[in-house]
């Protein structure tokens, strides 16, 4: 990030090579449109390039912060599309994501193992529970919207989401502990 703040273009290239694929995968999953997904990914990396000085270590590790930024942008695109109130890109007011804190020692697990764990953990959840989490994460729906979408009680949806994420955290913590052991 220091090199990025110093306007080192090679640092941006390195970040792109490292994160473009998972960021694009996330944005495409949300937007469902390859062309729009590329525009959003381009926007994300250019925002990072132009606002590198606003990012600092207190915001936590870069990868989840970048995922959060990409998700926010993609969900904004989705909401604007739904509302049919597409605004011009240059009128969009960019908001930096808030701080992301990696719960040690979970952060010690490398990305590939974390991805594997996330897939396994969420994949083991009952379909309605997994669907509720996906609607929240990929569709940006609120508790009540998900409840309506799934025709389930609001309290049930809240429990599904919270319990599913707690289970995911425990899974990652266990993986970290196993890795250390």
């Amino acid at each position: 990030m220091e090199r990025l703040i110093q306007r080192d273009a090679s640092a941006l290239e390195e970040l792109y090579d490292r994160y473009a694929r998972p960021v694009y995968s996330l944005v495409l999953r949300i937007s469902q449109q390859p062309a729009s997904a590329e525009e959003i990914v381009q926007d994300v990396f250019l925002l990072l390039w132009r606002n590198a000085a606003r990012y600092h270590a207190s915001r936590g590790p870069l990868e989840p912060w970048l995922f959060t930024l990409a998700r926010n942008r993609a969900l904004d695109f989705l909401r604007l599309k739904r509302e049919k109130q597409r605004r011009r890109e240059d009128s969009y007011e960019f908001e930096m994501p808030d701080a992301v804190s990696a719960p040690n020692p979970v952060a010690l697990i490398d990305g590939a193992r974390r991805a594997e764990r996330v897939h396994a953990c969420i994949g083991e959840l009952p379909e309605p529970q997994r669907r509720a989490i996906e609607l929240a994460f990929f569709e940006g729906m609120t508790h009540s919207e998900i409840a309506a979408e799934l025709s389930e009680p609001l309290g049930t949806v809240k429990s599904w989401i919270r319990n599913g994420l707690i289970r995911l955290r425990e899974s990652l913590e266990n993986a970290s502990a196993a890795g250390k052991g």
């Binding site: 694929r21 694009y24 250019l46 719960p103 989490i133 929240a136 609120t142 919270r162």
Partner: protein
């Protein structure tokens, strides 16, 4: 007002953006006070939620996206080109500039070579002219020697008819030709020339040729034996307009009887 323990259950939903209503407002007010418990707790929840990105099916952006981003991030740098781009990359400008410079240099060198070639041609023409002049002079001297060395050679003196004029010496051979020469001949204006005449025993003078003294005043003329000199009474030299005259237009300056 809820305490941190109660709000703790809402961290993940808040990070997901699923929280709403009074619960959302309450947590946001709480976080606005920089709660030392909830703020890092929500931060960890954001990290956990971000991990859900790995649920996305793996997909790769098009190869041109990287170039689009780099070219927009660093428009003045040497970002890698892409076939779909319409802008001209920096290296192409550099090559174009080099080609222009090479072309200009080539044109300059060609013109310089042309000038040098023209100068060399001029020098060659001058040398050839000088060579031809030397060959002519050499031929004249050879011919003059042959006339002088001829067995029937006869010396003739052409006496000046004006004061302060040098005398012309002539050698005549019926077989080899006629030679006349003199030194310290005054310079004539460019509009005038000396013309040698053969004055027959009867009839009008015959022109034998024109000549001019050189820069040092030396004058020499040789001619082949085209004229039957036995019919000639005298030799005469007159000043005539440049280009010569069919007949003398002035009184002769030098006259030498062939006796």
């Amino acid at each position: 007002m809820a305490d941190c323990e109660q709000l703790r259950d809402q961290y993940e939903a808040y990070a997901l953006g699923a929280l709403e209503g009074t619960q959302l407002a309450e947590l946001e007010r709480h976080l606005a006070r920089n709660c030392p418990v909830c703020t890092p707790g929500v931060g960890e929840a954001r990290w956990l939620v971000a991990q859900l990105a790995y649920l996305s099916p793996d997909a790769a952006p098009s190869p041109t996206l990287r170039y689009r981003i780099m070219s927009e991030a660093t428009p003045a740098s040497s970002a890698h080109p892409t076939p779909a781009q319409t802008w001209v990359p920096a290296w192409a400008w550099a090559i174009a500039a080099a080609l222009v410079a090479l072309t200009a240099l080539s044109v300059y060198q060609n013109r310089r070579a042309d000038r040098e070639l023209a100068a060399l041609r001029q020098q060659l023409q001058t040398a050839e002219s000088q060579g031809q002049q030397l060959q002519t002079e050499r031929a004249h001297y050879v011919m003059a020697t042959e006339i002088v060395m001829a067995q029937d050679a006869r010396p003739v003196k052409l006496l000046p008819q004006k004061p302060a004029m040098p005398m012309f010496h002539a050698v005549w051979s019926q077989k080899m030709g006629l030679l006349i020469m003199a030194s310290n001949v005054p310079q004539f204006p460019p509009t005038m020339t000396l013309q040698l005449w053969a004055v027959p025993k009867q009839g009008k003078p015959l022109s034998l040729g024109m000549f001019r003294p050189d820069q040092s005043g030396q004058a020499m003329m040789v001619m082949s034996p085209a004229t039957n000199m036995n019919e000639i009474a005298a030799l005469a030299i007159s000043e005539e307009p440049a280009g010569g005259s069919l007949q003398p237009t002035s009184a002769p300056v030098w006259v030498g009887p062939l006796t």
